[in-house]
């Protein structure tokens, strides 16, 4: 049953996503692909929409996937499920956590966890960038246009950090890439 799947899937995401919105993306992607909720393609679009609309990325993705799979009810269930763990942790555990995070054991555990999440996010980003350029498994379908555009946009985004403080914002990058895509893939 889809509503139950959404509930369990997003509870799991809400409970295991460390490191903010981007920390949740690998987990949401993995969950959505394994339940067959979405294609890789649509998931990438959804991340872009979540980034360009207000609100926490995790909440936006939950709302979208829930609505896509089971309408307004699905959206409400997925959204409630993704925020519930954080909500309960603050209500029940804040006092205990204030003491716990000062402990060396907790600090070491969290440092290792952060290192792992960082590696997971990096691999997800690199993989998602690579599959635009070539189908890695077959290694035959190489998309030259997409590869060139990836390199140009990468240089534009990371290069802007050298010129302006903090570089251009994600929304600017999304707009520029959208316009570039419409032109380059349109002709």
């Amino acid at each position: 049953m889809i509503l139950l799947e959404l509930l369990i899937g997003f509870l799991k995401i809400g409970f295991f996503s460390f490191g903010g919105g981007y920390g949740a993306i690998p987990l949401i992607r993995e969950t959505a692909l394994s339940y067959g909720w979405m294609t890789e393609e649509k998931l990438a679009y959804m991340i872009a929409v979540s980034e360009s609309t207000p609100g926490p990325i995790m909440v936006n993705m939950a709302t979208y996937i829930g609505s896509d799979k089971a309408g307004v009810t699905g959206a409400a269930i997925a959204t409630a499920a993704v925020v519930l763990p954080a909500f309960l942790i603050v209500i029940i555990l804040t006092a205990a956590l204030k003491e716990l995070i000062k402990k060396d054991a907790a600090r070491c555990t969290l440092e290792a966890l952060t290192a792992c999440v960082t590696g997971v996010i990096l691999a997800t980003g690199v993989y998602m960038a690579l599959i635009n350029c070539a189908d890695i498994l077959s290694a035959i379908s190489f998309d030259g246009t997409a590869t060139v555009l990836t390199l140009l946009l990468g240089v534009f985004y990371f290069g802007s950090k050298k010129i302006v403080k903090n570089g251009v914002s994600p929304i600017v990058l999304i707009c520029v890439s959208g316009i570039a895509g419409a032109i380059v893939f349109g002709v």
């Binding site: 295991f16 996503s17 460390f18 490191g19 903010g20 919105g21 981007y22 987990l27 993995e30 679009y45 991340i47 872009a48 929409v49 360009s52 609309t53 207000p54 609100g55 926490p56 990325i57 909440v59 936006n60 709302t63 609505s67 896509d68 959206a75 959204t79 925020v83 954080a86 909500f87 603050v90 804040t94 907790a106 070491c108 969290l110 440092e111 290792a112 966890l113 952060t114 290192a115 792992c116 999440v117 960082t118 590696g119 996010i121 990096l122 691999a123 997800t124 690199v126 993989y127 635009n132 498994l137 997409a146 555009l149 946009l153 994600p170 890439s177 959208g178 895509g181 380059v184 349109g186």
Partner: protein, 190 residues
């Protein structure tokens, strides 16, 4: 009741005007709840930020729940959390009804092929920022490399291994190494 409505409205305003996820929201929460409304102190804000970063879930939710709880108990927590979620919930709901139809337009589909490239770059950027902030002791670098390689392999060969397993293993290794070091230190002191 008025305090609850105030919490709800304040947080829906925060939810409406922050783009780019939780971290962008933190500065607005600080400005509103610490400087303007004086609901919590600056120290509390720092503390809740650290807790939000070390616990799972959206960072903005941790903060909203904490401020609401502090101000008006569980009802307050609920009002603040609902407030911060509701604007984006409604916006995304609306978009979700139309995105598929929008993508049938040829130029829009092409634009989204470009945007897909931007998404990869943004995720890499998020990871790079985390690497800069991270402590680079040998253990962290080792865990990062192994996690990176594992997830690449999982993706390329479409393996059904959850990253949750990697996360639990890493946390276990971190705690294990700490306990091992502490025991060795104690033995040396004897």
């Amino acid at each position: 009741m008025r305090a609850l409505i105030d919490l709800f409205l304040t947080f829906s305003k925060i939810g409406t005007f922050t783009f780019g996820g939780g971290y962008a929201m933190l500065s607005l929460i600080e400005r509103t709840c610490v400087e303007k409304k004086r609901w919590i102190t600056h120290d509390e804000m720092m503390q809740i930020t650290v807790i939000a970063e070390s616990t799972p879930g959206p960072i903005a939710i941790n903060c909203a729940t904490y401020v609401g709880l502090k101000k008006k108990g569980t009802a307050g927590a609920l009002a603040a959390t609902l407030g911060v979620i509701l604007p984006s919930f409604l916006i995304i709901l609306l978009i979700s009804f139309y995105l598929d139809r929008f993508l049938e337009i040829e130029w829009a589909a092409n634009a989204f092929r470009g945007i897909k490239i931007a998404v990869g770059i943004l995720i890499i950027d998020a990871a790079v920022k985390m690497i800069r902030k991270m402590k680079k002791d040998p253990l962290s670098v080792f865990i990062l490399s192994i996690s990176f390689l594992s997830v690449m392999l999982i993706n390329v060969f479409a393996l059904r291994v959850s990253t949750i397993v990697l996360m639990l293993a890493s946390a276990g290794i971190g705690l294990g190494v700490y306990l091992f070091k502490r025991r060795k230190e104690k033995e040396e002191r004897k």
